[in-house]
Amino acid sequence: MPAEPKQREDNKHTVSPEERRQAFKALFSYAKPHRKSFLGVFICAFLAISADLLQPFLIKYAIDEKVLFGAYGPKILIGLAAGYLLLEALSGVFSYVQANLLQRVGQSIVALLRKDLFKHITGQSMSFFDRNSMGGLVTNESSDTETINQFFTQVLFSLVRDGLSLILVIVFMFALDVRLALYCLILFPIITGIAVAFRKHLRSCYQQARSLLSRLIAFTAENLSGMSLIQSFHQEQEQEDRFTNRNTSYLKANLREVRASVLFNRSFDVLGNLAVAFVVWLGGFAVLDQQIEFGVLYAFISYIRQFFQPINQITQQWNTLQSTTVSMDRLWRIFSTQPEVKEPAPEETKTLAPAAVRGRVDFNQVRFSYVDGQEVLHGLNLHIQVGEFIGIVGTTGAGKSSLVNLLARFYDVDRGSVEIDGTDIRRLPQQDLHRIVGLVQQEPYLFSGTIVDNVRLFQEHITREEVIKACRQVGAHPMIKRLGRGYDTKLSNRGSGLSAGERQLISFARILVFRPKILILDEATANLDSQTEQLIQHALSVVAAGRTTLVIAHRLSTVQHADRIIVIDSGRIVEAGSHEELLQQDGYYAELTRHSRLQHNAPNVRVQG
């Protein structure tokens, strides 16, 4: 079915200042639990710097003639040397502790952020995954979060440390000479001016490079998954050319960014040195005019140089800050996306203990569309009895899979309702719903891990014996025994060592282990050969007992023993009844049956779909 993703406004929206403020607030809430550690970091940094600053005093003391040529000169000298070493050692220890503490905080924040992000993403409804590229989400998880770490360990740290020294320097300057200090304040508007002038440009450079990187990564990811196809079609060169295109535009964007940021950093540097020249000029005249003393000018010159050191340090962080804002916007965009399928409000919530569920399913006047304006189901009614075995057939695109998506609440109905045991499924917590409704998809998905873990989905409370029993029941046992390490065989890369049918067998075993009350098979037998399907059919008839089962199939053998067969066409139920009844109706189903029988004898019969 052409399930075009809903085009949402939020796909490309830009983040408003208000949202950014909120984003920063959210970001800092991650830092809050680490307040003490941050304090420790700053104390350590402060002590390390102080120990460093004390050294000139020691040397000043040493070169004091009274000490040097005094009676205890040599002893004092050795004492001074020892004291010096001690101070340096202390400074080293504080730096060491500070670096470790800072990294611990930064990494803990990132770890938590990654986990939260993962939780948020996996908590989204399926439509979210239609809209967002897998490569993009992976980049969010790995790179964007790493940038946040840099924000805390570099940007924030530098802001506080260098900001502090900047303030100290300004205080000293004013203490020395108010007039000269005021002249120096002219620098502030200039600095701000440069920053503002570059800001927009740097930002757009960075953003562009970033989105090109995303595209490059997404392209690479897709080509890696389709590599065997590329190789079989001998398209290596063509795909490489396409990669080169993307890589080149990324390079160009990067060079643009490099130019901008080098220019930005250097202009600050030049400005700093020009300021010294300015002070020399201004102060020189002032000294000549006897307005200030020479010593003041001397100190002033050293302070103005120190004034630019922290500013330079901070502007070095500018790039990181840029990447942080961009990364944060991207993360914020994800964090602010609410799942379209929402958990019920507490007062609405109804709990159905999975064990107590009987398994009645009702689709009431269901209207549904993936894209606004393109309705897939038009007021569909379907009432399924407890334990009933329903077969659903119809041409591709008729809306069969939509029924599944709605019952599993991967999407929500536009109008009407889906009920289990008379309870609207929108009132059930999703975890509960998913324990009640089990699904086997057409393309089974395997995780990297052993066969056992893939069957029980890493739930340790399910025993190995249960897993093996389930595998025996679905007939996967002989196949698994053939594998190198039996049930402990590690599957890698989505189980690529197994054939589609073998993978499907494993996903069938999952169902037997998880025992949902309602079972959906969505074209699950398409990739199985007839004998394997027979095995599955047999196993299914065992588990289907006492369970409500919906089987979507285009192979009639899968559904012909169903209690009831539903024929869907263009989003409506057009026929319903048992296999025999439907044959007698001589409608679409009968046509399908004739085809599956006669397809090899009279291949060119035209059928009205």
Partner: protein, 582 residues
């Protein structure tokens, strides 16, 4: 071996630029070294009281000149460095992608995509950052240290005193040798942890439907969380050693300083050293401290990226398992036969052989049907024919030539392949169908889509053949995907067509039509149809039945029915559908 020289090649190719960058940085640093001197002269001049107003202007202009020259030179050096870093990144990614296209399927089955992506994202970036920033800082630090040493040597400080004071600095090379490998090792472990986290994220996001439908979100979170915590631990163990190194390096400078205070001071008390020289010595040693910190920093980053570089080099050194021969099939030949002689094959690491002593041949222009149970070795056979895996020499012949002697391009252009899963790329439908030749005319694409019974569906889309597929475009249903994949194989009109269960997700009505189209369009061309539905292979000239990797039955449809074996029983089961229906 090409991998070993990834960085070296880059350096060599851009040697002149690197030289220019280093020279600019040296020029910048040397210019900047005059800054304190000019200031000193100015203050001396001012203090002596012999300064005029025009002198003040002169000094100010001199400082302006230095500021601008320094800014320019440094800017140029920095820009060249960063630019070269980006070019390295570009080249490295090109190499990686090229290498990816050469690696065989067995490599992909062992290595997840997320892990491979991590090379492209994290490792390349890491190396780029360190060569760009590292070179800048290293040049600065070296120039500073050298100029301090030169200044010390040029001064009147006794050589012996200088030597004694510099002695502790000799510990630095030993520390670098001692710490270096440990830092690299731990960095590598951090990179590996990052790679496995990326892999885990990708896997979980792709499998999110399964996770959701079994309400196993908590387990997924725990598994992902474990990979995140892994990074945390390894990062902390890395920072322990790097910060230790970074603290110890300046400490050697501090020891030098302590020696200078004690020994130098002693010389002063003995009247063997002037006070001025003593002060100068301490000032010089103090100037060394900052570059020492810088060097510690640079070595840390270098080691870290060394780990990444090693990873990249190791990856690039992986030899593609499939080695091509240089024999080619005559391109015009449209009638290629296939001969399989006693083919036995086991996947690497597999316990049992997937194919066991298979022999059969397909005459040019014939259609071969292959049926068999799940896991009987049907798909393996296809992978071997395409050389996605290598069969032993002397077992598979196409057009009379051992496929291991053929060039891959010659082999694969002669075979059109329709795989079991209809993997499509996120590009237009037209691009997907015309995959083998992206410049194919629209009418060819349309023709192929008609053969695959896809044309009607496509004309239903608003953008027709230009409809975008994939994550940001249209999602096709399983059946539509398979038919697109089929059209992609058919448009090639190759001498050999391999259909690996290619119509399994298509409904019976459509399947019938597709099979009829196939028979018509593949007349006189060699076709292999793998299926588990008898209906798909029934009309083949020859049918083989695979069972547990062995060829158990072969013959025409009628002959096989008479055998009353597996084929007949499969037929029975499937015809049974009809019997019930009747």
């Amino acid at each position: 071996m090409r991998g070993k020289t990834l960085l070296l090649n880059h350096m060599k190719a851009h040697l002149l630029f690197y030289l220019a960058a280093v020279l600019s940085l040296i020029a910048a640093n040397v210019t900047y070294a005059y800054f304190p001197k000019v200031l000193g002269d100015f203050t001396d001049h001012l203090q002596s009281g012999a300064l005029t107003k025009s002198d003040v202007g002169y000094y100010a202009m001199l400082l302006v000149g230095i500021a601008i020259v320094y800014g320019l030179c440094f800017g140029i050096g920095q820009y060249i460095n960063h630019r070269l870093g980006r070019i390295f990144e570009f080249r490295a990614r090109q190499e990686l992608f090229h290498h990816f296209t050469q690696l065989s399927e067995s490599y992909y089955s062992r290595n997840g995509i997320g892990k491979l992506l991590s090379y492209v994202m994290n490792d390349v970036t890491g190396v780029r950052e360190s060569i760009a920033n590292g070179l800048n800082q290293m040049t600065n630090a070296s120039v500073l240290i050298i100029s301090v040493v030169v200044m010390m040597a040029a001064s009147d400080i006794p050589v012996l005193l200088i030597l004694v004071c510099v002695l502790p600095l000799l510990a630095i090379p030993f520390m670098v040798i001692g710490f270096g490998p440990k830092i690299r090792d731990r960095s590598r472990r951090v990179q590996e942890a990052l790679a496995s986290m990326t892999e885990s994220a990708e896997e979980q996001f792709e499998g999110v439907k399964v996770t959701k439908s079994f309400a196993a979100e908590n387990i997924a979170r725990d598994r992902f969380g474990a990979s995140v915590d892994h990074i945390l631990q390894r990062q902390l163990s890395l920072v322990k050693i790097t910060s230790m190194f970074q603290a110890l390096l300046p400490f050697t400078g501090a020891v030098s300083m302590a020696v200078a205070i004690a020994y130098g001071g002693l010389l002063v008390t003995r009247g063997q050293l002037s006070l001025g020289l003593f002060v100068a010595l301490t000032l010089y040693l103090r100037m060394i401290m900052n570059p020492l910190r810088l060097i510690g920093n640079v070595i840390n980053t270098m080691q870290r990226s060394r780990a990444s570089l090693d990873r990249l080099n190791r990856l690039l050194a992986v030899e593609p398992e499939i080695k091509e021969g240089d024999d080619t099939l005559p391109p015009s030949e449209q009638h290629l036969g296939i001969d399989i002689h006693h083919l036995t094959f086991a996947y690497p690491d597999a316990g049992e052989a997937s194919l066991d002593d298979i022999s059969f041949s397909v005459k040019p222009g014939e259609t071969l049907g292959i049926v068999g149970r799940t896991g009987s070795g049907k798909t393996t056979l296809v992978k071997l024919l395409l050389r996605l895996y290598d069969a032993p020499r002397g077992t598979i012949y196409i057009g009379g030539r051992d496929i291991r002697d053929l060039s891959l391009s010659s082999l694969r252009t002669q075979i059109a392949y329709v795989p079991q899963d209809g993997f499509l790329f996120s590009t237009t439908i037209r691009d997907n169908i015309a995959f083998f030749n992206r410049d194919a005319e629209l009418h060819e694409v349309e023709e192929a889509s008609r053969l695959a019974e896809l044309h009607e569906s496509i004309t239903g889309f608003s953008d027709q053949f230009d409809t975008k597929l994939g994550e940001r475009g249209l999602t096709l249903s399983g059946g539509q995907r398979q038919r697109t994949s089929l059209a992609r194989g058919l448009i090639k009109s190759a001498p050999i067509l391999l259909l690996d269960d290619s119509v399994s997700a298509v409904d019976a009505v459509t399947e019938t039509k597709i099979l009829a189209n196939l028979r018509q369009s593949r007349q006189g061309k060699t076709t292999i149809i793998i299926a588990h539905r008898i209906s798909a292979v029934k009309h083949a000239d020859h049918i083989i039945v695979l069972e547990d990797g062995k060829l158990s039955e072969q013959g025409t449809h009628e002959e096989l029915l008479h055998l009353q074996g597996l084929y007949a029983s499969l037929h029975e089961i499937q015809e049974g559908e009809g019997t019930h229906a009747g």
